[in-house]
Symmetry: C2
Subunit: 340 residues, 2 copies
C-alpha cells in the first residue's frame, strides 16, 4: 500500500496539486465545485497529509520537545518518578489537543538535546527541572521558544512555570509546628545553589523562626530525590539517635522512602515519627497511613506550560512570563498531633 500523496488526490480530482493545497488550507479562494471534488477525492483515497513534507516548506514541525533529566541506565529505566510521569502525561494530552506531538528525550542536558532540536525542527521546547547554566546558554541560541518548568534560572529570556517552593515547605513545617512538634528534621535532595531544594530548605527555616524554634544544622539531611535515598536518610537520622518527632520531606518520594526506613527498624508513622511530604503525587493518598503533604497541581503545570508555549509560537513577540501556581496543605494521616 503505497503512500497516497497530494498528487494522487489532484489527479483524481482533475486539478493541480496547488489547487488541492489551497482547497485544504483556504489560503486562496477555490470554487465550491472544485472544492467539492477535491474533498471527495481525499475521502475516496483516504489521503492524509505528510507532516514532514509540509513542515519542510512551512518550516515548522508541529513537534514539541520535552527535556527531562536523564535516568541512569540502571536496572529500572523510567521517567524517573511519578512526578515527571504526571507532568509528561499532561503535556502530551494538551499538546495533542492542539495538533502537536511531543518528543520526549531524557537527556543529560548536554549538547545532544540541541542537536535534537535542530534535527527535528522542534517548534518549541519544554524543559522540566534545573540544569547547568551552560545548558540555558546553548538553548537560548537556538531561538526556539522555550518554557521552563520548575526552574529558578533567572535568565529573562525564558518563560517559567513554577511554584513557590519556599512557601510550600513553610506551610509543611508550620503545620508540623502547629501539631506540637519542635524537633523536626528536614529531608532533602541535593541542594544546589538557587535550586528547588535550597528554596524548600528556606521555607523550613522561616517556619521554625516564626515559631521561635532554633534552627539546627544537624536536623537537615541531604540525599537524592528517590526512594532509596529516603530510606538512607531515615537510617542516618536513627543512627544519630536524633530525638526528632517529625520529618518534613522535600518530596513525597523521599517521605515514602523514609516511612519505609522507619518501618524496617520497627518504627511507625505517625506513632514514632510524624511525616509530611511535598508534591502530592498520586500514590500519596493510597499509602497507609495516607501521606500528609503539600499539593501542587502537577498536571496544571503541564497544561500551563503547553498553553504558554503555543501562545509564544503563535506570537513570538510575547513578553516573557512567569507563572506561579498555587499550593495547598493536604492533611491525611502521617502527622500525629502532640497537642490538643
Amino acid at each position: 500500500m503505497a503512500r497516497v500523496t497530494l498528487k494522487d488526490v489532484a489527479r483524481r480530482a482533475g486539478v493541480t496539486t496547488a489547487t488541492v493545497s489551497y482547497a485544504l488550507s483556504g489560503k486562496r479562494p477555490i470554487s465550491e465545485a472544485t472544492k467539492q471534488r477535491v474533498m471527495e477525492a481525499i475521502a475516496e483515497l483516504d489521503y492524509v497529509p505528510d507532516l514532514n513534507a509540509r513542515g519542510l516548506s512551512m518550516r515548522d514541525s508541529k513537534l514539541i520537545g520535552v527535556v527531562v533529566p536523564q535516568t541512569e541506565p540502571g536496572e529500572r529505566l523510567m521517567f524517573q518518578n511519578s512526578f515527571y510521569s504526571e507532568v509528561l502525561g499532561s503535556i502530551e494530552y494538551y499538546a495533542r489537543q492542539q495538533g502537536y506531538h511531543i518528543l520526549i528525550s531524557a537527556t543529560d542536558a548536554n549538547e545532544s538535546y540541541l542537536t535534537l532540536a535542530k534535527q527535528r525542527n522542534l517548534d518549541g521546547i519544554i524543559v522540566i527541572g534545573m540544569y547547568p547554566d551552560e545548558f540555558y546558554q546553548q538553548m537560548k541560541k537556538t531561538q526556539i521558544p522555550i518554557v521552563l518548568i520548575d526552574s529558578y534560572c533567572n535568565d529573562h529570556y525564558y518563560h517559567n512555570i513554577r511554584i513557590d517552593d519556599a512557601y510550600g515547605s513553610y506551610l509543611a513545617t508550620r503545620y508540623m509546628l502547629e501539631c506540637g512538634h519542635t524537633r523536626i528534621a528536614f529531608f532533602a535532595g541535593q541542594m544546589k545553589e538557587n535550586g528547588v531544594m535550597k528554596k524548600r530548605l528556606l521555607g523550613y527555616q522561616q517556619a521554625l523562626e516564626e515559631f521561635h524554634v532554633p534552627y539546627q544544622r544537624e536536623y537537615v539531611f541531604e540525599g537524592q530525590i528517590d526512594y532509596t535515598s529516603g530510606i538512607a536518610l531515615a537510617d542516618r537520622l536513627m543512627d544519630q539517635g536524633l530525638p526528632a518527632t517529625g520529618v518534613v520531606a522535600a518530596a513525597d518520594i523521599l517521605a515514602i522512602g523514609a516511612a519505609k526506613g522507619f518501618f524496617e527498624r520497627g518504627k511507625r508513622v505517625p506513632e514514632d515519627y510524624s511525616l509530611i511530604g511535598f508534591d502530592d503525587v498520586e500514590i500519596a493518598q493510597y499509602l497507609t497511613p495516607g501521606l500528609t503533604t503539600i499539593r501542587q497541581q502537577i498536571s496544571l503545570k503541564g497544561q500551563k506550560a503547553v498553553e504558554l508555549l503555543l501562545k509564544h509560537i503563535e506570537d513570538p513577540s510575547l513578553p516573557k512570563q512567569e507563572e506561579i501556581l498555587p499550593l495547598q496543605l493536604v492533611v491525611r494521616g502521617s502527622v500525629k498531633k502532640l497537642n490538643g
Copy 2:
C-alpha cells in the same frame, strides 16, 4: 540564526551538495582530501542534518510510535500507571541508543492513531496493551512493522512480547496456599475475553485446583486497574463479610488500593488480610509492609520490543516472533504464614 543546510556546507567546502551527502553517507567513494574539507566545513558551521528532509527522500523518519491506552481527561493526567511509565521509559532509552525517537500517543486506539502513523511516516510502532479487534485490522493495513506488548491478539501478523500471565497468578496463588491460606479472594481489572485479566484468573483457578481447594465464584472481584478500584474491591469484600484471609491481586496497583481499603476500615496487612500483587512496580518494595508480588522485568519488555522492532525494520522478511519473558515470585512482607 538561520538554519545551516547542506548547501551551506557545500559552498563552504567548495563542492556540490551531492558530494557532501556522499561524504557523509559513504555511499560513493569520495577522496580523502575533499572528505577532509567537508568535515571541516561541517564542524565550522556546526551543521546538523535535517531528519525531516532526509526522511522525505529516504522515506523513513527514525520515529517509533508508541500506543498506550487513553487516560481519561480527569483531574490527573498521566501515563496511567507506573507500569506504563516504566515501559515507556525503557522504550525511549533503547530507541534513543539506536538513533530513533519515540512518539507517544495516548489514544483510544481508534482511527486517529492510524492517521498519526501516516502523518509522521512512522518507521515502526509498539503497541502496549489490548485493543478491539478492529484496531489490529486497521494497523495491519498500514504495512508498518509492529510489535505488541502484553497482547493476546492471535493475529500471526504481529510480533509479540509478553509474559505467561496465567503462570504468574498461578505462582502467586500457590504461594498463598503454601502459606496455609485457603479462603483466597481474587481481585482483577476488567476481564475481557482472551485478555490479560482472564488469563490471570485462570492461573488462580489452576493453583486452587492443584491444592484441592474448591473454586468459588464469589471470591472473584472484578473492577478496573487503578488504585480506587482496589479500595472499592476491598470494601466489597468486607461488606459481603467474606471470611477471606488472603487476596491475590491481578496487579500491584489493585493490591495497593486494597491495602488502603482495608486500612481505612481498621484492618491490617498482613495481620488481618494477606495480600499478593502482580508486576512488581517500583513502589511495591517501598510500601509498609513491602508488597509480596510476582515480578516481571518491566523494562526488559521495552528493551525486547525495541530490539525486535528495529530488527524487523532492517529486515522486513523477519518471521513473526513471540517472546515470553520470565516471571518470579518476590516475597516481602504482605503475606502472613498461617502454618509453620
